[in-house]
Amino acid sequence: MLQLVLFFVFGIIAVGAAVNLLAQRHPINSALSLIVVMASLATLFLLMGAEFLAAIQVIVYAGAIMVLFVFVIMLLNAGVEDRTPGSRVAMLLGIPAVVLLAGSVAWTLVARNPYPVGVNLTGGFVGSPSAIAELLFRDFLLPFEVTSILILIAIMGAVVLASPAGTTAGTGSPEQPPAKAEE
């Protein structure tokens, strides 16, 4: 019961924030609403026992990636976006299509989910850091290392891309911190 309430509360918050993300015409508002979405998703993760992921969701997404977004928005001082006919066409076509699609998927899932498994907070299943770590460093060791390499490449790419032409990227290239923050 309590979980249901919590689910609906945060689910509605998430959806509303997502809608707000689209509705807002200023990127920074969109960014903030996206942060809200992420935070509420983190609580939903907690509801499903993925506490480590919840924390990581906050730290990485909200704390690092979105900071990066906000930072770039501030840096470029991106103004209010202007309307173009193309976007109007996209709206006319896209909104119904997406609504239809999501609706059908939702309907299929609700109506025909063969596993109506209940989710309750007191279920013994908890994604504790140690459990995740065991999987991560034993079964998924290779992918983990590969992703670390990916991160490294991403850092270098970001530095090269963002550094003004000619100058070698010095320290304090703002792209670095979030990319690092994963490890």
Partner: protein, 100 residues
């Protein structure tokens, strides 16, 4: 008791909103945020399934998704900065050198 289906539906809705955002918005950074939104929806689905099958692999997957998202954000934003530096705009409709 919350059926897993609810979480899946929620993730479906969020994903749809992300797609819609990508289609509708014109600001490069907002497009990126839409992508992140989709990724989050996917993460939610992963966690839900992980819960349904009582298996942590789904959560590990989410972990990887986050890592990739972080890398993607870093590079993507760097690209955005480069684009802005050259074209003085973030409007995707104005960044259309590929048009024939």
């Amino acid at each position: 008791m919350v059926p897993v289906a609810y979480y899946l539906v929620l993730s479906a809705i969020l994903f749809g909103l992300g797609v819609l955002g990508f289609l509708v918005k014109r600001n490069l950074i907002t497009l990126f945020m839409s992508i992140e939104l989709m990724l989050n929806a996917v993460n939610l689905a992963f966690v839900a399934f992980a819960w349904q099958w009582k298996s942590l692999n789904g959560q590990v997957f989410v972990f990887f998704v986050m890592v990739v998202a972080a890398a993607e954000a870093a590079v993507g934003l760097a690209i955005i900065i480069a684009v802005f530096r050259t074209r003085e705009t973030l409007n995707v409709d104005k960044v259309n050198l590929l048009k024939l």
